[in-house]
Symmetry: none
Subunit: 417 residues, 2 copies
């Protein structure tokens, strides 16, 4: 274990980065917002730009957080399946195969094949928990355990757990209506058995669901039955070291998004449950700040993420994003007022950019400020995309951020003699 001489914090505005907005006089929402606390942090510290993955690559929240927790995203990200499963609260274990799934509607054909009538089973809204329970009652097949968990609407996640599984399998979902359920194929010799088992399971889900009371009721109400599970996007749960083994310090997450909570649990980090943290515009940012301070007692590292700026970005609402930046400012101000900067290194940034003009994640770099223990200050005194670009940190990638912080608090391992 390392012997840190201080504590480290990352405070994030989700989707914080943005582009110039004409309605804001050419400023970004963050530049336009009144952010006295963020500016204070920038003035006290050192600023720069951060690319969550690499310059120009739009990051997902999952890959961005993996990266900022110090795991090389190109080595540790094995597709959406495992993280989606984590996001719905499943107990994903290293080596599990994970799939995204749809509840779908199929019709049996005279030749015995199953034809896709609706890939989303009429966007089924209710009853999927009962349907998943029926599928989970199926016995293991070929020694493989199948675990399904419903998500919102027609979506679900599936885990395959057992020996000798191989992730190189194609989708059962043909990604088109009017087509037959696709036969899963093993893309390698080693994946043949996995594919065969999965094909058999998909057929069994039809048998378990077609006459299920939920579907009997749906048919009676003129709705399409959700009578099969179609897995796609297979990924293997990556063999990532738990956070405390990777970094030699105890880590906690104070976040609002299920996907990131799941990632934290997978890394054996403490995941705080914060009353008042809604993940929406109405979230209680001071509750998040207090939970962060609380987590600092028992952990050397805490990451806190305020979700709201990302919502405003997706909504394309510049004024809302300005308000969310002020919300982040209050969160950071509360933390700043209650920590000892002589013994704490605090980084403030975003996880990725969600410009209001794009209404989606973009690959624009993020503003970054680091203040506190060991920091070489620079001349930047305002926290924003363009002020930070002139700062002393230069331009780093997200994957290096945790190393930078661990170095400041004396918890970095020397590479070499």
């Amino acid at each position: 274990m390392a012997h840190p001489t201080g504590k480290a914090l990352i405070l994030l505005g989700d989707g914080l980065g943005d582009r110039p907005v004409a309605d804001l006089g050419g400023k970004t929402p963050l530049e336009a917002a009144q952010t006295p606390n963020l500016d204070r942090l920038a003035a006290l510290g050192e600023c720069g730009l951060m690319d969550p993955i690499r310059p120009g690559v739009p990051a997902g929240s999952d890959t961005a957080h993996l990266s900022m927790l110090g795991y090389n995203p190109y080595e540790s990200y094995t597709g959406r399946g495992p993280l989606e499963a984590l996001g719905v609260g499943m107990d994903v274990r290293r080596g599990d195969l994970a799939f995204r799934c749809n509840f779908a509607t199929v019709e049996p054909q005279p030749d015995g094949s199953l034809l896709i009538v609706d890939r989303r089973a009429g966007r089924i809204a209710e009853g999927t928990a009962e349907l998943a329970a029926a599928v989970n009652a199926l016995p293991p097949m070929d020694g493989v355990q199948f675990i399904l968990r419903e998500s919102i609407e027609h979506r679900a996640a599936l885990l395959m757990r057992g020996d000798g599984l191989d992730a190189c399998v194609s989708d059962a979902d043909p990604h088109a209506e009017g087509a037959a359920v696709a036969v899963v194929e093993g893309r390698t010799e080693a994946a043949q058995r996995t594919a065969g088992t999965l094909n058999a399971w998909v057929r069994k889900t039809y048998e378990a669901l077609d006459e299920h009371p939920v579907n009997v009721q749906r048919r009676a109400a003129g709705l399409k039955p959700a009578n099969i599970i179609l897995p796609r996007g297979c990924g293997v749960a990556p063999h990532l070291k738990p956070f405390s083994e990777q970094w030699g310090v105890r880590g906690a997450l104070v976040v609002e998004v299920g996907l990131i909570k799941g990632l934290g649990r997978y890394l054996d980090m403490t995941v705080a449950d914060v009353p008042g943290a809604t993940g929406g515009y109405d979230t209680d940012e001071i509750a998040l700040a207090k939970a962060t301070l609380e987590a600092l007692h028992e952990h050397e590292f805490v990451l806190c993420n305020l979700k709201s700026p990302d919502l405003a970005g997706h909504d394309g609402n510049a004024e809302a994003k300005v308000r969310c930046c002020a919300q982040l400012d209050r969160l950071v101000g509360h933390v700043l007022d209650h920590v000892d900067l002589e013994a704490t290194a605090i980084a403030v940034a975003g996880d990725h950019s969600t410009p209001v003009s794009v209404r989606d994640h973009s690959g624009d770099p993020l503003p970054l400020a680091i203040a506190g223990q060991g920091v070489r200050t620079d001349a930047v005194a305002a926290f924003g995309e363009r002020p930070c670009a002139t700062g002393g940190l230069g331009r780093i990638v997200g994957h290096d951020l945790l190393s930078v912080l661990m170095n400041l608090i004396g918890a970095a391992e020397k590479y070499g003699a």
Copy 2:
């Protein structure tokens, strides 16, 4: 071979990088020092920050120099064993297995096992050369040659040379007293034979040393005998191309540290022997400068390292470090006064940071200035951590420095058509 149109120089202050020091008014030692020559170089050239390995990762002197000599440290560093052996002047060859060793004291048990009484043989100070000679007189075992070289006190380095060796072997040193000598285990099928041979050799060292005259004398004087060799930390000497093959130019080192001299010899570089270069605070920095200029006659590339700033960092002595920065300034000044900047590219930096507040290597980036042939100048006119952060070079990694210099002097290979 490349056809350079000039010569390239790297002048390093070992452990040069630092953090703000309260006693220096919040300046770093380098910022606080009077460094007219370094400032002249910065003004004439282009500045930036350099991470020897990656942002936040504390580098060893070995990995930092590997990196700055243009070898990717993550590909070329295979552990301390080979570099320690190089550091004590051994003729390490590509493919050799290298170990760090202790002379230790063991007592035979009734069951034939050997119990560790003292892992350091009472910190034996004299006689280890004779003991090593006795061990080296043992015949090869299983076709494997063993070569031991004593270092300071109880320390030694060991090479295994032969066909079919595999580095995946555990330590003979149990890292605890009161335990038996550990049975070396092969962690892979391929390493089983290597482990077996090493176990047999360790036993033989006991037989060769237990009654050796040095130990007879030690027992008579009430001292613990150094009657066994305990290898640990196996690494394979990496298959690095010689410097001249890697870069197409002739390279020389003017350095004070054995470890780096050994690395240079391993890369078939010329390693200068500089009278007056003590590696201490009292070193003759002008002698180093003169040796650098001398080496430039026969080589297109010279790296010079002044050790003293690192000593001051480890000593936690800010005032001493300020003086060492002035020493580096005189070294650089002498070089600047005697080279043709129209036909020379000179980089000045550190190999890693050793902040006086940390008293050890840290992962803080280094100030970097490059002046001379082909350089695009910038507005920075002072050489220091924070002035350099605003320079035109931005933030680079050490592994790219040699490419940058080779490019300036027209010795870089084109990548592509």
